[in-house]
Symmetry: C2
Subunit: 200 residues, 2 copies
């Protein structure tokens, strides 16, 4: 099997959420695996000198409209979060701990549940307790998840994931790298698919 798709995202990115609903299907259809990498978009933004889309005047209002319309266009459930953007350390660390302690498949399941909580159910995923509740709802051990999420090795792991993303030229989310080829944005899934089919 050819190399995996490295998938970089932040749990506070709506386009990252859209990508998360589709990337496994895209990969399977093209005989690839996906490596999921939660990162801290705020750190990437500071390095590049950008800011969250919705903080820009004019552009920010359009962005909220585009999130909703893009979800509708692709048939993805979406409700505007009551607060946005949110800090995602708790969510990212929970996923990293789950991947390490329980397994990659459960970690992906957790990631998808966190994204749905954030972008469908209006849950404030910046609160560690909410993340633990989501973890428990998919059958993870709440106490183990709580301890893992707060542990220094997992904190360090998130810093490393973010540093490695920066080192690979990741500056936004979602960001996919496959065969060394970088793709930024859910709206590049068509080019990513063409690339995987050898048609680009």
């Amino acid at each position: 099997m050819a190399g995996p798709i490295d998938f970089y995202f932040d749990f506070s990115s709506p386009y990252g959420y859209f990508a998360a609903t589709r990337i496994e299907e895209l990969a399977v259809n093209n005989g690839r695996l996906v490596n999921w990498h939660p990162v801290l978009l705020g750190v990437l933004f500071r390095t590049v000198g950008t800011a969250p889309l919705t903080t820009y005047p004019v552009k920010g209002e359009y962005a909220f409209h585009d999130f909703e319309r893009t979800a509708r266009f692709h048939g993805i459930p979406y409700n505007r979060p009551p607060r946005f953007p949110l800090a995602t350390q708790a969510a990212a660390r929970a996923m990293l701990w789950t991947a390490q302690a329980v397994g990659e498949a459960r970690a992906i399941e957790l990631a998808q549940a966190i994204f749905r909580a954030m972008f469908v159910d209006g849950v404030a995923i910046d609160e560690a307790d909410e993340v633990l509740r989501i973890g428990a709802s998919i059958g993870l051990d709440r106490d183990a998840l709580a301890a893992g999420q707060e542990s220094e090795p997992i904190r360090e792991r998130l810093r490393e994931e973010t540093s490695q993303a920066l080192a690979r030229g990741v500056f936004g989310a979602p960001f996919m790298i496959v065969d060394g080829e970088p793709f930024w944005g859910f709206d590049r899934f068509n080019q990513l698919d063409a690339w995987l089919k050898g048609a680009l």
Copy 2:
């Protein structure tokens, strides 16, 4: 016939160029007309607090790669301009004068020739003489174009086009507004098409 598509662009935007190669076909297929609006993207950027894509570290290098790959994906001729971005006052004024003095169809022909010169032939379209040469090459009167391009009413017209764009919430290019619905980016042509078909 339903209302026109207002198409805002800057001659220094590669995605604006890609859009310019496809928008008339998209409109015709959906029974719409296109109103072409050259604007000064630098003014919009200053208002929103953004900057040309290619001036950001990391993101800028990706952008040049994406221009080339997006052109390839869509089968549009493209060569990276020797200098980029370029000032586009001369090009925009030439188009506005042609629309007013000669007619909209010739103005669109001129716009497409200027975009090709910029993004296929490596011409420095920030030089007024180059724009005049392009105008002459499609049969426009060079002396009349030169006088019109420099006239105060045409200068004022470009300022007005840019102000009106800002007032309508345009913050980037290409930007399309139809039936009051805003679409930013060549990568929203799929949503624009769905909108025109009543499927969004």
